[in-house]
């Protein structure tokens, strides 16, 4: 897969505050890449640097490696929504999108189709200042799509929206993702990233803590709780300590909480325990919470 973005040792200092601290990242074409991190972790700062809105203190980045024409002015090939939608308040949707089209040098942009996609066709002649937050956000999504860019950067696209607005925006993003575009989605909302992204990088305090496919980073392996009658308790403890199925185990409230290795099941564990002469009187499989996983990584 060709590299769309490669970031090396990106650093941004604001006086004594380090917003980004030697961040490395690589994104390939076609990935829906999530930047996950708590508020203030440096996600927006990184995207702002990548979009040339702010200057990095150190480090480099390359867009569209091996494609000189695209890497000379990458933002013509990128549609981006950074933080809040920024438009001319006295201009309507058509006029604002026409300005974006002029900047991207797109002749005859398909405004009808774009406004249709974001359900703003009815209000296309209203000034931007009269829009609700959800409408502004949807117009920003339409603006991202002007010129049919290869890459979309969406920074907290559902921020400040009501549940209805969130669903609308997420549906639009999902629709766009099916078109095979590379999407970089920054969010602190775990379920949003899990539902939309194929790959993820977790950032905290300007540092990258983990990166990879969503499945490998955000462990989807369920946790298993097991327990037995007191006479067999020590036996169970010894068994779990050496069991090849168990990745991690901890003891909580008279029960063992286990994380099994991939491709192993609670049924297998039960069978092995039984073969060792241990009868489990409690065996519960629990889907591992994404929040828990995230908290564990960012701890």
């Amino acid at each position: 897969m060709p590299s769309i973005l490669s970031v090396q040792q990106l650093t941004k200092n604001y006086g004594s505050l380090t917003a980004l601290n030697g961040l490395d990242l690589s994104i390939e074409a076609g990935q829906v890449f999530g930047l996950l991190g708590p508020n203030g972790s440096g996600k927006t700062t990184m995207l702002a640097i990548l979009l040339d809105v702010i200057h990095a203190s150190a480090g480099t980045y390359t867009w569209f490696e091996g494609r000189p024409e695209a890497s000379a002015n990458p933002r013509r090939y990128i549609g981006a929504l950074l933080e809040t939608p920024n438009f001319y308040p006295y201009l309507n949707a058509d006029q604002n999108l026409s300005i974006i089209a002029s900047i991207k040098q797109v002749k005859n942009p398909p405004l009808d189709a774009l406004l249709d996609l974001v359900q703003l066709k009815e209000r296309r002649r209203s000034p931007f200042r009269t829009y609700s937050l959800g409408m502004k956000q949807r117009l920003a999504l339409a603006a991202c799509l002007v010129g049919d860019p290869e890459v979309l950067i969406l920074d907290e696209p559902t921020n400040g929206l009501d549940p209805q607005g969130m669903i609308e925006v997420r549906n639009i993003i999902k629709k766009i993702a099916t078109q095979g575009k590379t999407i970089i989605l920054a969010s602190h909302m775990l379920d949003e990233v899990e539902k939309i992204c194929s790959h993820v990088a977790i950032i905290k305090n300007g540092k990258r803590l983990a990166t990879g496919a969503v499945g490998s980073i955000l462990n989807k392996q369920p946790t298993v709780e097991v327990s037995c009658l007191p006479p067999e308790f020590d036996k169970l403890r010894t068994f779990l300590a050496t069991c090849r199925l168990v990745e991690k185990s901890s003891y909580e409230n008279t029960r063992f909480v286990l994380e099994l290795k991939p491709e192993h099941s609670a049924a297998e564990l039960n069978r092995l325990a039984f073969e060792q002469g241990i009868t489990l009187n409690h065996l519960v499989t629990k889907a591992r919470s994404l929040e828990l996983e995230f908290l564990e990584i960012t701890r």
Binding site: A48, H55, N73, Y90, I99, S102, I103
Partner: protein
Amino acid sequence: MNPMHFLKLEWQKFSPNTTFRILSVLYVVFFGLGVWLAFLIGRNLEIDNNGEMIRPAADLFTFPRSWELVAYAGSWMNMILLGFTGVFMVTLELSNRTLRQNIISGLNRWDLFLCKFTGLIAISALATLCYLFFGALAGFSESSNYNPAAALPPAGTVVCYFLQCLGYLLMGTLSGLYIRQTALATLAYLAYVLFIERIFYWILYLSLVKSSVFPVLADILLLLPNKVLSALAPFPVPQMALQMTGQQKIFEGLSEAGVWIAALAYIVLFTFLFFRRLRKADF
């Protein structure tokens, strides 16, 4: 992108803006009013020259001298309205974060500078056209039996007017770019051109009068930005009166070439600062 593309982009952004439209209308209306008032009052102006009453303004309203008076009337519009237009064109974009969005959408910093600079050049050109219109209107309405060649505006005066427009627009733009808030930037700009520089000039001028280096330093004081830009379209009456009374100058001042060089130097400096700020700023 070519200059026409930049111009189209600026036009798309600002032409529907109400404040921008009002400023444009005010420029034309006040310019016309200023010329009309100057002509109304100036026709009857008399100066006592050792008991002999002379009318220095007698031919100020006919070609070719009328061009100077109209330029002077326009210079006030340039200082106040064009300066404010410069402030507004930047702070409007900063407050709505649209400069940031323009970069995100694909303009690089150099394009952004060219876009704004092309806009300022176009406004200066339109203001100069406005000057030519009122100059011609005033001249034709007052002149009779003039040599047709004299009706043409002196090239130097037209270029000076254009440079003055550009200079004030750039000053306003810089004020907006550094201060970032419309009200504060406007206040700072107007306070500087209307009061601060003038007060500063006179305080230094008066404190230097008795100094041995007075003539040199007094000339240096004339190099203050607003003094230089104002000198591109000076008040023509004193100069006429002096010529009529056989004198050359009342005040020591910069030569015409000096004004040109200083004005161009300021425009280059302002343009450089403008570009530097756009290149270095985090939006």
